[in-house]
Amino acid sequence: MAHDENKNRFSEGCAGCAAREVVDVGKRSFIGAALGAGSMLIGAIVGAPLFRFVLYPVYAKGTTEQWSNVGDASEFGKSDGPVSKTVSLVQRDGWREVVSDQSVYVSRDQNGQLQVMSAICPHLGCSVAWQASQGKFVCPCHGGQFRPDGTHISGPPPRGLDILKAQVKDGKLQVQFKYFRSNVPDQESLG
């Protein structure tokens, strides 16, 4: 068998092999270093763009600020409690653009001004529901509670409900919907 012969030739009678196997340590480490450098060069040429490629969505800028209509400013009476509303906003989702619906609450702040709050709990992101019978917001997940104006009453959330930037333009209440980092004491906008 050719294979066996090769093996024998190599292990026993291969003068050339034996001579070449005795490579002095200096030369051997130089070859090793050259091969290592070559491999690292290739790794860098492919690896660096690959690294940026994979990380791109992590650092990509989010959707630009946009105003979504909440409704007519006149429909929110003075004395009523918070009103649940759905706003639509165009969001970039990778290579597609989608229209997503988000829940917000319209209420009045302590000065009686209209304000729009995100329904996302600042604790861990559950959807907070308005309990009209109790006159407060209660998070169904971990029991966080908030006053009608969004300020924190009790439970694990580290801050009150997030107030969104809002304005009244031509009689319409508009809001800039945003996501905020959860479970931190200060409001920190994402994207």
Partner: protein
């Protein structure tokens, strides 16, 4: 290999050494490395042996870049193109990695060719190496399959049409052809199922087979041992051997670095482009396969009718068979290429034939109208690649949520009417989303100020003019309506609600009905000779069959089409002559003889002039080309 046979080794110093020894005792990695690196090469290391390692490297590179592309790519007809555009235009490093992957596929073919030539010239398949050769031959075909399946995935114009041709070629196979085509396409047409199928083949089936056969190839190679130079005995090597490490490893590394440098340089300096999205309705697109399929592409031009089977099946089949069975056909142990003249001449003939066909196909494409159309396509591809990325918008119903549900403003509706009547839709597409002739207008109102846009429409820039954009001479009211419509492009408001919705075809026909309906009575007036001429048209002319004995070749038709675009005929008569501000051409052309056509083109009738038709001032040669193009126009759908 077993743990027991190992003599207890004296503990080495240093934590790294000790960890390595611990690892080695459990895995035998040292011995494995020894086996890998100390393969004896009869006659010693040579530069000629680097190609196999080169192929392995390119394959690994393709796997790495391919997997990274799959991070963003989606295999559906709807989204594939957008996701590739996203990779190319938006994602950091995306253009580079996609280019590496694309050029890598070409490099694979080049190095594969070199590996084949080296092993063939050295007669390395001799001496019990038949299976080694056959596994290599199989790998070659799998690599070609990777090129074919990968070409469709970006779903741009060239991808679509090249795949249409490629799958049709398979359809020429006797008996199973039709089934094969339908199997590849996932039905009769190329669509989203085709993308899925090609994707699965490209990322799962073929790569897995390649890995399998690479293992077999390497195993069989180690089993038989390297064949050494051509003067070596392939079964009982006599030359002094040299281990694979270090010299051959260094040679291989040098070659691999060369490949890497070439690919990275190309990818960086000349990143690959992405054409506009596949548009199956485009009747003018000239598909061209990847360069390594050009010989086959050219070859198929020689075969017509019932002989196609010979060109597509018999000859390539025989060649493939000869390729696979090379070790059985060339059985003597003699390895020197000049001492086995028949195989050497046969291979030289095939290789030279392929080079000839490839070069010929390139030269054919450098001629006249084909070259112009290909240049046009290349420009469109460049322009599309340079244009900013546009995200894929979910279905129109979803968008409608964001927009007021009320009726579309009359201004927008009027603007839409103007957009269609003026033939803007002819090039910019029915919904202004762009075609191969002109770019998308979605978002154009955000890009330019109102006044700027009006100025551009009235006085197009040189670049716009070069693309055959005419100046839009509209009243201020019409202009603001047009701009209102441009402003809603890309939203559901651009699609009028059903009750307002008039299909494009009907708008066009409606317009032509008002202006000049191609009815016979009217028609004679349109087509009749200029006033004062005694040569009046007999009505029987109307049914004269087209005079097609002229030079109605593909080239002249393509040249005529080019003229049609260049002269701006399409701005009124619509792209493909389907009608717009001026009537559809097919019914008119069908009723005129060539000489009558020539006459009305050179000297339009009073009625035609009234409608804005200028005399067509071209050389008589160009006029013939225009004619042959007009003769090919399909009748509009009623």
């Amino acid at each position: 290999m077993s743990n027991e046979s190992n003599e207890p080794m004296p503990a080495r110093k240093g934590i790294a050494n000790r960890m390595f020894d611990w690892f080695d005792e459990r895995t035998g990695v040292k011995e494995l490395m020894h086996t890998v690196l100390h393969e004896p090469i009869p006659g010693g290391a040579r530069l000629a042996y680097v190609f196999g390692s080169g192929l392995l490297f390119i394959f690994l590179l393709q796997v790495v870049t391919g997997v990274s592309l799959a991070l963003y790519y989606t295999p559906t007809a709807e989204t594939a193109h957008t996701s590739v555009a996203y990779i190319t235009k938006q994602v950091a490093g995306g253009a580079f990695l996609r280019s590496l992957h694309s050029y890598g596929s070409s490099a694979m073919i080049v190095v594969l060719g070199l590996h084949f030539l080296q092993t063939f010239l050295y007669g390395s398949y001799k001496g019990r190496r038949e299976l080694l050769w056959i596994s290599g031959a199989l790998l070659s075909f799998l690599v070609l399959g990777m090129g074919f399946t990968g070409y469709l995935l970006p779903w741009d114009q060239k991808a679509y049409f090249a795949t249409a041709v490629g799958t049709n070629v398979a359809g020429e196979m006797p008996l199973i052809g039709n089934l094969l085509t339908r199997l590849m396409r996932g039905g009769d047409t190329i669509g989203t199922l085709t993308v899925s199928r090609f994707y699965v083949a490209h990322v799962f089936l073929i790569p897995c087979s390649i890995v399998l056969f690479i293992c077999a190839h390497i195993f069989l190679f180690r089993k038989a041992g390297p064949a050494g130079p051509a003067n070596e005995d392939p079964i009982h090597p006599k030359l002094a051997p040299e281990p694979f490490y270090p010299r051959q490893v260094l040679f291989d590394m040098g070659f691999v670095l060369l490949i890497m440098a070439a690919l990275a340089g190309l990818a960086y300096l000349r990143p690959v482009t992405l054409g506009p999205i596949a548009n199956p309705a485009d009747t003018h697109f000239l598909p061209r396969p990847e360069w390594y399929y050009l010989p086959m592409f050219e070859w198929l031009k020689f075969w017509e009718g019932s002989k196609v089977v010979i060109g597509i099946v018999v000859v390539p089949g025989l060649l493939a068979m000869a390729f696979f069975l090379m070790p059985f056909l060339d059985r003597r142990l003699e390895r020197m290429p000049w001492r086995r003249p028949i195989p050497a001449l046969a291979v030289a003939l095939v290789v030279l034939g392929m080079v000839f066909l490839g070069v010929k196909s390139q030269l054919d494409d450098k001629q006249g109208s084909i070259a112009e159309q290909l240049a046009l396509q290349a420009d469109q591809e460049k322009a599309y690649t340079a244009a900013p990325f546009q995200p894929y918008v979910e279905s129109k119903d979803v968008v409608a949520v964001a927009l007021p549900a009320g009726p579309v403003s009359p201004l927008v509706a009027a603007g839409r009417g103007i957009f269609n009547q003026r033939g803007c839709s002819g090039c910019h597409g029915a919904l202004g989303t762009g075609t191969t002739l002109a770019p998308s207008l979605v978002g154009v109102t955000a890009k330019f100020e109102h006044e700027q846009l009006v100025a551009l429409l009235r006085n197009p820039s040189p670049r716009m003019r070069a693309g055959h954009m005419p100046s839009v001479d509209a009243s201020p009211d019409d202009m603001s309506a047009l701009l209102a419509y441009l402003g809603v492009l890309g939203t559901s408001a651009a699609n009028l609600p059903e009750e307002h919705h008039v299909p494009l075809e009907r708008i066009r026909l409606g317009v032509s009905r008002v202006r000049i309906t191609p009815q016979k009575s009217d028609f004679v007036a349109v087509a009749g000779p200029a006033a004062g001429s005694s040569n009046s048209l007999p009505t029987s002319v109307a049914v004269t069959p087209p005079d097609t004995k002229g030079s109605n070749t593909i080239e002249s038709v393509a040249a005529g089409q080019k003229l049609f675009l260049k002269r701006g005929c399409f701005t009124c008569h619509g792209r493909g002559g389907v009608g717009g501000a001026a009537p559809a051409l097919a019914p008119l052309v069908a009723q005129l003889s060539d000489s009558q056509l020539r006459e009305v083109l050179e000297k339009p009738t009073a009625k035609m002039k009234e409608g804005g038709m200028p005399p067509v001032e071209v050389t008589s040669e160009e006029l013939e080309m225009l004619l042959s193009y007009l003769r090919t126009l399909p009748a509009p759908r009623q």
